[in-house]
Subunit: 155 residues, 2 copies
């Protein structure tokens, strides 16, 4: 197996294609990972959430990491890591324009974009459709690695 | 889609079954996620690494989060999150016993347990077979969520 660094374009292409990954946030030096759906556009990831631990932590510390991957086998995979900063668009008139923009992008990627957030909120007994959040992750750095068992694939 | 909390037993069963996930570590409030292979046993995850950013960060702050999941579709998935503490078994005589124990467990789960660590080290130009680390994550908390589109599955 060979592992090589992915180019910026390869990383962005994976983020645009998969639309699904994991977000890590931090409180008191303790990291916490949650699966997320997102829509990529250059420089940004857009997402949707309902209130929960993730949002509480992100309000205290907006530094995040998002990982997304495609795994075909033990020796054939790609993994992209984004470092970024969380910004929230709450359901208030000042954020209406951003919310509509994010919602439109999420719709393009996944017509069930709202489903997981609502179902997770119901599971933790904090379901309230009024407390819905759209957010943006401003990308500060993208890196990626690609493994292949075939040296030709590495070119 | 319904989402429910998984039992401790279901979470442990997933960790034992998949043997693959993502580890988040933290430096200066900035989280960082890397894919890992691991072997589960009650109370612990075992892993192998070569020197790199992950290890440098973990030596400064041993608090970690590991996420592992099985995704069949948008509405059929399980995701388990472990909070824990990193302990390193370096290649010194005092740690020989622990290293052999961890290596034996990793072998049982994945006979290519060493492959990804070496290939990643080569990719970043820091390949040195002498600097190999076995580590243990002492599990402090496990939680999991399971989504299903079929209410019968939720029982």
């Amino acid at each position: 197996m060979l592992v090589r660094e992915m180019s910026q374009q390869e990383c962005e292409s994976l983020l645009a294609r998969v639309g699904r990954g994991r977000l890590a946030c931090v409180r008191n030096n303790q990291p916490y990972i949650v699966p997320i759906y997102f829509a990529f556009e250059p420089g940004r990831l857009y997402g949707f959430a309902t209130m929960g631990q993730k949002i509480e932590w992100l309000r205290l510390n907006p530094l995040v990491c998002v990982e997304a991957d495609e795994v075909l086998s033990h020796t054939e995979w790609q993994s992209v890591v984004v470092l970024g900063r969380y910004e929230e668009f709450r359901d208030v008139p000042e954020h209406l324009e951003e919310r509509l923009q994010v919602q439109a992008r999420l719709e393009q990627v996944n017509h069930l974009w709202w489903d997981t957030g609502f179902a997770a909120a119901q599971a933790r007994g904090r379901f309230d459709r009024d407390i819905t959040l759209f957010y943006c992750i401003h990308i500060q750095e993208i890196t990626g690695r690609r493994a292949s068992s075939d040296p030709v694939e590495q070119r």
